[in-house]
Structure formats: C-alpha cells, structure tokens
C-alpha cells in the first residue's frame, strides 16, 4: 500500500505544473509590486486561494474578529510593506502548528496561540512564517514535497483531503516544512524582523524551549512548524545564539497577550481534553508558570487528563486534582461531577452521592444532567444497600 501511495504521489508531483523552479527566486518587494512573477507562480497562488477558500468553507477557521485583528496587527508590524498582502487566520485546531501559503495567507492553530505567553513569542512565529511568504519558499519548494508521509501530516492538520490534488501538494509543502536551508533562512530573517519591529528577541528561544518541553512530554513527533530540518533543538540553539546579547525593549503592556487570549486558551484546553490529548494537558498544567495562566479551577482539567490516561495511580492523582479545583472554586460544578463519578467507581457511594447532588444543585440544567441523575440514583441505591447490610 505504501509503495502504491508513493508511486501515485511521485506521478502526481511530476505532473505538477510548477515543479520546475529549482533556483532561488528574488523575494517579493511589498506594496503594489506584491504579485506572482510568472504564469506558473500565478497558478500556484490560485491554488493557494482555493485551499484558503476550502478552509474557510469547512468551518475550520475561527470566527473571532477581535483575536484575528490582534494577530493581524502583529503581522503588519513585522511586515509593514506587506500590509494588505499578508492575511493571518486562526484555525480551530489544537496541534502546535502554523503554516504560510504562497499567496500570503498565514494560518496559526489555536493550540499554538494558547501556548504563547506574550506578544513577542507570537511575533517570533509570525516573523518566521511571513518570511516563507516573502521569500516565496512555498513556490520554490513544491518540487521538494516528496515524502508520502507528508500526506498524512496534511490530513492531520486539515482533516480529509481538502481540494484538488494540486492544492494538496501545495498544502504539503506549506504545512510540512521546507528544506533545512529555507527553514534556517526563515528563522534568521524572521528574527531580524522581530528585532526591527521592536519586540523582545529574548522571547524567541523561550518559545522553542517551551515547545521542546511539551513535545518531549507528549511523546509525539515534532510538529510541522518545528519540522525535522533543522531539528527543534538546533533551532532553539540558533535563536539562543542570535539573541545572546539582545536587550529587551520596553513593553508598555506586557500582560496584554495573556489577557487578550485568556478565552482562547481555556477553549483550547477544553478542546484538548475533549480530544483525549491527555499527555499534552498534563505536560502543560504541570508547569507552574503555565498553570497560573488559567482560571483557579484549572485543576479540574488536569484531573480529567489523569483520568483519561488511566495508568496506575492516576485515579488518585485525578481525585486530588478535583479536590484542588473544588478548594479553589467551590462553585465550579464540573469538578463535583467528576469527583462524584470517581468516587462511584471507587465504591465510595456516600461520597459519590454527596458530590453528584452538589453538581446537580449547581448545574441541574446542564446538558449532561441525565447521566448525573443516573449515577446519583445508583450511588444512593448502593449506599442504602450497604447501610442495610450493616
């Protein structure tokens, strides 16, 4: 099957009309001169437009004008001469990823925005992705999209095959990363943009450090933005070297980013729990600094992640986390429900009944109240049976 997929892929790549450009192309100039330089490149941009339209139609793009305007403002500050040509979108996806299409559309996953702690970290990412557009990396790299594994990664990002084969190949080169040289170029030139725009350059390596920690904890392969070439560690070292003697410009509102993205951060955490991405959730919330970025009841989500993992000792960790959440926010209903279910499974029927009653008192009209009532009935029945037995 793999051989068949490889043969189909290579045949398709050979048929790609833009598979010729191997030489380095001059960067786009910005302003009114921002346009495809050839008929081939025009076709590539048209495919990018098609891919962007499909993403919009499929409901995968977050419809939040305020947050989209925020990330757009950062991109415009980094690339002022490309204002109106670079369009930043937020994807409703949790993987730590971002990609730029050759037409100037840049996509950032909710998941990666939820990990940033300040605007400079966002700027480091946008600087990198913007350079992929400005230096026409996607167009140059189409012929390099040779890995059949890339198809799997594209599908992981955008779901089912999005549009025609040509656009899928385009998505592959854009999403799965570029050659070592092009990625390094994007890192270095993106860093220069970051400095020129007045962001704190010392935040760039921190971003990589945070992501390395989470990738290691999750046991997953490195995400695409931090794709295999160069390795994440090499890129961290490179940013560290670049920013070694950097000084921090004065930021008049250092907490602006955290405050603006508080809602998205929590929504992303809930989405990760709903997708059973428990390794990522545990890695995230075990970091005290990150833990503090969430509301007081965040330990409920940590408890859910332990419960989902289900390894030896996790039931106790989950219970402890639920109790922490209740201590921090006694009115937070979901923690009572979760604790009640945990106690029911552990055979503490009296405790289960108490917590489930509390949950229903706090959230009796919640969508899942039918489950809670069923569990409460069972807990009471078993508690009473046990009482009679004594």
């Amino acid at each position: 099957m793999r051989r068949l997929a490889a043969a189909l892929f290579l045949a398709a790549t050979a048929a790609w009309p833009g598979s010729a450009p191997a030489q380095a192309l001059a960067p786009l100039k910005g302003g009114a001169a921002t346009a495809p330089a050839s008929e081939e490149e025009r076709r590539v941009w048209a495919q990018a437009d098609e891919l962007a339209a499909t993403l919009a139609k499929s409901g995968r793009v977050l419809d939040d004008p305020a947050l989209t305007a925020y990330v757009q403002r950062v991109a415009d500050r980094l690339f002022p001469e490309f204002k109106g040509h670079i369009h930043v979108h937020i994807l409703k996806a949790q993987g730590l990823n971002a990609f730029a299409l050759p037409n100037g559309d840049i996509y950032l996953n909710e998941g990666i925005l939820a990990r940033f702690r300040n605007e400079s970290q966002l700027a480091a990412l946008l600087g990198h992705e913007g350079i992929h557009f400005v230096d026409r990396h996607s167009y140059q790299s189409l012929e390099n999209a040779k890995s059949t594994a890339a198809l799997g990664t594209v599908l992981a990002v955008v779901g089912t095959p999005v549009v025609g084969l040509a656009a899928n190949l385009l998505a592959m080169s854009s999403i799965t990363g570029y050659s070592r040289e092009l990625e390094s170029e994007a890192d270095n030139l993106g860093y220069k943009r970051l400095v020129a725009a007045g962001y704190d350059p010392r935040e760039a390596p921190k971003l990589f450090k945070l992501l390395m920690t989470e990738v290691a904890a999750s046991g997953e392969k490195e995400p695409f933005f931090f794709a295999t070439h160069p390795a994440l560690k090499d890129r961290y070292d490179n940013y560290l070297r670049l920013s070694k003697n950097a000084t921090a410009p004065k930021d008049p509102a250092p907490d602006r980013y955290l405050a603006t993205f508080a809602g998205l951060r929590l929504a992303s955490l809930k989405a990760e729990v709903s997708m059973a991405r428990y390794r990522q959730v545990i890695a995230l919330l075990k970091e005290p600094e990150r833990h503090g970025d969430y509301p007081p009841y965040v330990d409920y989500y940590l408890g859910e992640a332990y419960r989902q993992r289900g390894e030896k000792g996790d039931a106790e960790l989950a219970k402890a986390a639920y109790l922490e959440a209740i201590a921090a926010a006694p009115e937070f209903a979901l923690a009572h429900r979760a604790l009640g279910m945990q106690l029911l499974k552990a055979g503490d029927y009296g405790g289960a009944a108490r917590e489930l009653e509390r949950y229903l008192a706090l959230a009796g009209h919640a969508a899942d109240h039918a489950y809670a009532r069923m569990y409460l009935e069972e807990a009471r029945k078993r508690r009473d049976e046990r009482g009679k037995g004594k």
């Binding site: 499929s58 279910m341 969508a367 039918a370 489950y371 069923m374």
Partner: protein, 181 residues
C-alpha cells in the same frame, strides 16, 4: 423500483467486488449471532462486509445506518485506547467523541449526549453535527454499548438538509429492534 434499479446499477458499476441485497422483513443476525436487528424494509444492504451491517435507501452519502461490533480492546483505534468494562456510560461516550474528532471531524458539535438502553444494556446516545469540506452540514447519531468484551455501535449518518430528519425515525425503529445475543 426505478430508484432501486438505478442504485443497484450504479453500485454495480462503481462498486467492484461490492455486493448488495434488498432488505426484507425479518430480523438480521450479526457476526456470531451476537445480535439481531430488524432493518428498514426495502433498503439496500451492503453484503460484502461480513463484520458489519450497512444499509441505505438512496445512497450511502445520503443516509446510512451502520452496526458494528469490535473487540473491546480495539474499540478506539485512533486513540489507541480500549473500552474498559469499568468505564461509565458517559466515559464511553466521551471516548467515542474523541475518536470521531481524531478520525477527521475535529470541530464536530455535540447536540445530544444522554444515557440510553441499547439492546437491553446501558450505553450512550450521541447526536453530533459537522461540516464537510464544502461547508455542507451533516448530522450523525451514535449509540454505543459494551457487552461481554465487545463494543457495539449503531449509527445513523445523513446530510442535515432534508435527509436527517426524514430518515431518523427509520433509524430509531432499527435501534429499538436491536437485541444483544
């Protein structure tokens, strides 16, 4: 009748080795007689897949009812998680939602998630909604239950426009007829 002939002709052209049969009135048995179910009459059943029951009236993309049975250890292949018999019904439903998200519908919306008696055992009933790549809305109902080391799923899939509401009663009758062996 014309509709059926056209569907069968199309299926024969496109289906390769797939084989089809018209559903009758009596109950149908699942693999190893592990369950029985009464299917909607005069629908078309895909008979080439022995591990599941799949039927449609107008085409598999327009409406389909599917019944599957897998070993509990293989219940959630995308998540690489088993269905443990210690799981509560809501936990089973939660894993099914995560599995569907991992299988290509990451932004699905859960419209309903309630406990349900399936074939005599307590399980769950989920109703979800999602958009395909063309922005067309689909709805699905997933009813799941664990029994004797197997995970049973009875599902209904249709476009939201026209087909879902029209054929949901057929699905509900099918579900009500489902009996574990």
């Amino acid at each position: 009748m014309k509709r059926l002939l056209a569907l069968l002709a199309l299926a024969a052209l496109l289906g390769g080795c797939a084989t089809y049969a018209l559903t009758g009135t009596g109950p149908v048995a699942g693999p190893d007689k592990s369950y029985s179910v009464a299917l909607p009459r005069n629908w078309v059943r895909l008979t080439s897949m022995s591990d599941r029951v799949v039927v449609t009236r107008d085409g598999f993309a327009l409406q389909r009812i599917m019944i599957t049975r897998v070993a509990a250890k293989d219940a959630f292949p995308k998540l690489k998680k088993p269905a443990d018999d210690k799981l509560l019904a809501s936990e089973l439903a939660e894993l099914q939602i995560a599995e569907l998200k991992a299988a290509g519908a990451p932004n699905l919306t859960v419209l309903e998630n309630v406990p349900a008696r399936i074939g005599g055992a307590i399980g769950f009933r989920l109703r979800i909604r999602f958009l395909n790549n063309d922005g067309l809305a689909f709805e699905q109902v997933w009813c799941g239950v664990l029994d004797k080391g197997y995970y049973y799923l009875i599902s209904f899939h249709a476009p939201e426009l026209y087909y879902f509401d029209k054929y949901l009663p057929d699905f509900d009758r099918t579900l009500a007829s489902f009996r574990l062996g």
